[in-house]
Subunit: 715 residues, 2 copies
Amino acid sequence: METGVEEAIPGRSLPIARIVAPRSVAVVGASEDVGKFGGRVIHYLQKHGFPGRILPINPNRATIRGLPAYPRVSAAPEPADVAILAVPAASLEAQVADCAAAGVGACIVITGKLAEAGLEGAALQDRVLGIARAAGMRLVGPNCLGIFNPVDRAMLSSSLALEEDGYAPGGIGLVSQSGALMGTLLSFGRHHGARFSRCISVGNQADLALEDFLAFLLEDAATRAIGLYIEGLRDPARFRGLLRTARQAGKPVFIVKAGRSEAGAQAARSHTASLAGAFPAFEAVCRDAGAVLMEDPQAMVLACDAAIRLPRWPAAELGLAPIASSGGSTVTFADMLPGAGLRVARMSTATRAVLGRWMPESHVALPVDTGSFHEGTSGDGLSACIRAFMADPDVGAVVVPMTTQPDMAGRTALFPPLAREGGKPLLYLMTAGAVGDASRAVMRAADFPFFDRMSDALAVARALDAEAAGRLRAAAPPPARPDGAGPAPALPPGALTEGEAKRLLAAYGIPVTRERAAATVEEAIIAARAIGFPVVLKGVSRAVVHKSDLGLVRLKLRDEAALAAAFTEVAAALEAAAPGQAEGCVVQEMARGEAELFLGATHDPQFGPMVLAGAGGVLVEFLHDVRMAPAPLSAADARALIEGLRVAPVLRGLRGRPGSDVEAAAEALVRLSWLAADLGPRLVELDVNPLILRAAGQGAIVVDARATLTEETTR
Amino acid sequence: METGVEEAIPGRSLPIARIVAPRSVAVVGASEDVGKFGGRVIHYLQKHGFPGRILPINPNRATIRGLPAYPRVSAAPEPADVAILAVPAASLEAQVADCAAAGVGACIVITGKLAEAGLEGAALQDRVLGIARAAGMRLVGPNCLGIFNPVDRAMLSSSLALEEDGYAPGGIGLVSQSGALMGTLLSFGRHHGARFSRCISVGNQADLALEDFLAFLLEDAATRAIGLYIEGLRDPARFRGLLRTARQAGKPVFIVKAGRSEAGAQAARSHTASLAGAFPAFEAVCRDAGAVLMEDPQAMVLACDAAIRLPRWPAAELGLAPIASSGGSTVTFADMLPGAGLRVARMSTATRAVLGRWMPESHVALPVDTGSFHEGTSGDGLSACIRAFMADPDVGAVVVPMTTQPDMAGRTALFPPLAREGGKPLLYLMTAGAVGDASRAVMRAADFPFFDRMSDALAVARALDAEAAGRLRAAAPPPARPDGAGPAPALPPGALTEGEAKRLLAAYGIPVTRERAAATVEEAIIAARAIGFPVVLKGVSRAVVHKSDLGLVRLKLRDEAALAAAFTEVAAALEAAAPGQAEGCVVQEMARGEAELFLGATHDPQFGPMVLAGAGGVLVEFLHDVRMAPAPLSAADARALIEGLRVAPVLRGLRGRPGSDVEAAAEALVRLSWLAADLGPRLVELDVNPLILRAAGQGAIVVDARATLTEETTR
């Protein structure tokens, strides 16, 4: 198992487990005034029952909040495990040096205006890091908001979220590149009864990074589900490995990644001085590793909580069974499912039979309105229907969108036992305001999640379904190299000609159109006779990217006359388009089929080799119908990737048209993925556009391709 | 102005204004026990300070809750304006008859298991309605939850939502086909400080329908914004007119319509015995009338509230300006915008200059992280930036996604005056739990909306933007009939031939391909010479719908030999496909262009004539890229409809390709809309597929069309 938890060197390099649960904490800038940072930190340590020693540091006071104070960290009677600093940037360097001299294990640096603020701050951050490294002292931050550890009652933060009483310990581990967001989520989760193990604000990650804390949480027995708010990664390869480890450890990971949108990406860069990586590659890696990417941090916390406190969502792509006494709430919830990528369950015959006992046959349908139950059967019928749904193989979860009704709290109490007995999630929605508080209290007392918003329940249902998909992925065998995939031939650096790119593809067993070079009309005609009419004629130059835009491609040449005429024109166009760089003409087989796809390969600077598939031809550009996956990938993943395209119905055959050979396209994608994996950073990009898919069982063939390689020595 | 508020006939046919604010209320089945319906109704009337007379009806008691009780409604000392009944279905008929005999103005019938439960219930409902009609007594319901009227303190309901204290009067009028949902929304809104004028649960709408109450709310001075939860309409044409009236009255209407999804549609049908109409036509009519269709009833209430209590969103399709002290919250909010159909604003030079005073030039970007402000400038900088955004023409609203921070409540108090001064919406988000309650209290005290969820703020921003679009639509001139649009030629009922369909289109000035009938090869050749090669040959039979699937269409016939060969084949295929129903062949002009569209016209059973446009050819089927509008429509609307298609970028010209004549396509759509309007219910459907768009300025032409008419006498 890959982890980042270092062994403790005695007196130096404190392990994260001790930083998160220190025996002693020095608070630099301690104060009696809770309006000040240093006052709040001590107040919160005390208020939340910190069991270790608190060492207030203040040169002007003998005691603070009843504790003996010391003028400097180095003047304290013992070297603190952790020092918390939120001093002005101007005095940070001296204070960190004093901590280092005193043998402090780790500094949590709240101070901001460092690397995130510009070059001057970055230089100061580097100096501070140098001091810490030299002393074997760890740093959390700077520009962070500290650590919440309800398990050990170590609330090492000045966050106002700590104004709330009693954060009971639980299983949610959070790591966040935004401290304020983290504090907010802690308070938000508490309303729902969600409980946390450790929450870490990593700030600028000068020393300890998100990956280090993620590794810690994977080994941490208290943590059962993990939420991450990420702006940019320090070590993408390690991060990817840790996501896989999380799956093996049975700990679901839910992630919100800043920078999905262009504006978000820009802001995330300026915010914590970390590069927000390309989102599509990040998304592909998360899916591959079985982690769940979400949009909304609030929903992320609810999903972590649901993953811990609800029974497991049994498998991916299951339906939901909404049932409640309000037709209005179940119908609107059902209406919102397709927009969230979800669906209503299809009831089994057994389930229908059960429902038929409680309501008129004409009303047996999902969503279920218990208002249609036979007179006086509401409570019993509700329980019986929920039991039937729990046993129905197409049901992923039961949803109860409750509205105001008599004895709400009593009715509410029915659900936790039904969910536990049934072994599937039950999403309980209480959308009313204060009048629903008694019901919420029932759920808190039963240690059962509830939702205040239909939108929250939808986001969590989608996350739990994706989590189930990730769980199943983890059990799938790793990709295997197909016969005849590689090795790559020797090729020049830079832009390849179409012929070179196709040679590369052919070396991985990917079918390409037959072609022959032709320097003259006569050679072209001989080539065409060998290949068979109709043919395609193309002008070749590595200086030209979009050949068809420049008149360098002539399709469907049916006979020698047409070919001869085309040759003259293409040769002229070629000289015009790439003077002095023309590399002659090629005659190609004219491939036809039922459908076309775009395939691509690239090397992501963060995550390495990637493949793409998308709608072919001009559609790829306006539909943005492209999906990405890390390379190499398995045949099943390649198939799923292609089947996930919006254009998939066209591939399968529309309105009686024959389906196309998706299987062959998937194989081509697998082979391309091994090519990408083998070339590694040498591959800048490779586009196949189009891959022509023949009728099912007839194969697929690359009609055009282009590729660019770097110099072998440059990376 | 169209309204549904009838004049009061003295003593009979009470106007809705009096039903909603009665002077006296008889409660049938009154009880001391608040566990019982009749007990709760009286309790809530008293608790919420009903100023009129309450007449408890109970044959077994002299007084109830301190009030004199009467054995029957007809035994009370005066005829009540309103009687509330939640008696068992078995005694409903007798009780309603007694109310009628007593001269009661209206019965609010909570009793369920009527038309929604099956045939027996429907028969009872009809009898009850007959009794009421005969007496000139109005009915609300049955199967409803009554009326909340905070303006007149008339809470005529047993809903548990009335357990909450003090529903202060406000401007939101609600009409709902789900009573339980309505009570829930009332309580939900109250948490946010949203206040209501009148909320009406209409149930099965045996007598008074949603349209009646909507008409009432349009005239009601207390109501400033309207929310509707609709399952099915009783009078779609009247409803559409009322939406237009709402626009003229300056009252925005926000609607959640059940049945968007298939499962939802099914459930809505079974739920209140009302037909859930086709969603796309409903959506088109709402957009046309300037009403805002939403998905989530909770968000609908927040949108109504925001429309009343926030300054107006200035115009459609503006951007948002997120600003806060947490980079994490502003970035994730910005990331969620594109998914909600929204975007970050583009800052003007003036705005950039203001921001540059408060933060390093490198950080001047949206979203704004006030953490990057120069030291000590946070409060002033925040106000200055918000003022700049308020003045920026691309900003529709400022968004402040607040996270936990020192002096949250004090900071919160800054925003209401800034929004009021700036005259644009400011969406204030407090996503923390209890630690944010002090800030929420500040907003309630300032009478200013707040949001607990990013998802709520997104949904409301989208709704306000759509509301602005609707406001601007209302100011647009009505559609004008273009020259030469109609009249329609006489045509046979049933399926038309392609030629007949094209004649119909041509009569409305829509260009169609030239064609000539040809009974023999010789005639075909003569026709082709007149039209000019290449030509198209088609076999004609009104029995055949998809001609190309049967080999009845031959394209690109370049010369007489090719035409002659094709003629023989098509003639044979035609006899095979439609034995005895062949109507000969036609030779057509071969049209070419840059792009193609699908156009359609139909007559919606609820809303009348409709036109559609979508991606042409095979794309229309797999992209579901179709938009609908009521006919006739204006040129501007036709253009907007086509520009709104996903395929629009292709029409405008991709990657250097010439753009196509969208203007001509829009004109064809306008002319088609007059055709649909003129034919009315005679038109079953008319498809143009494809309309070929030539290069910009070169026009568009119908290549194929089919149509079906009903018998003129059938509708």
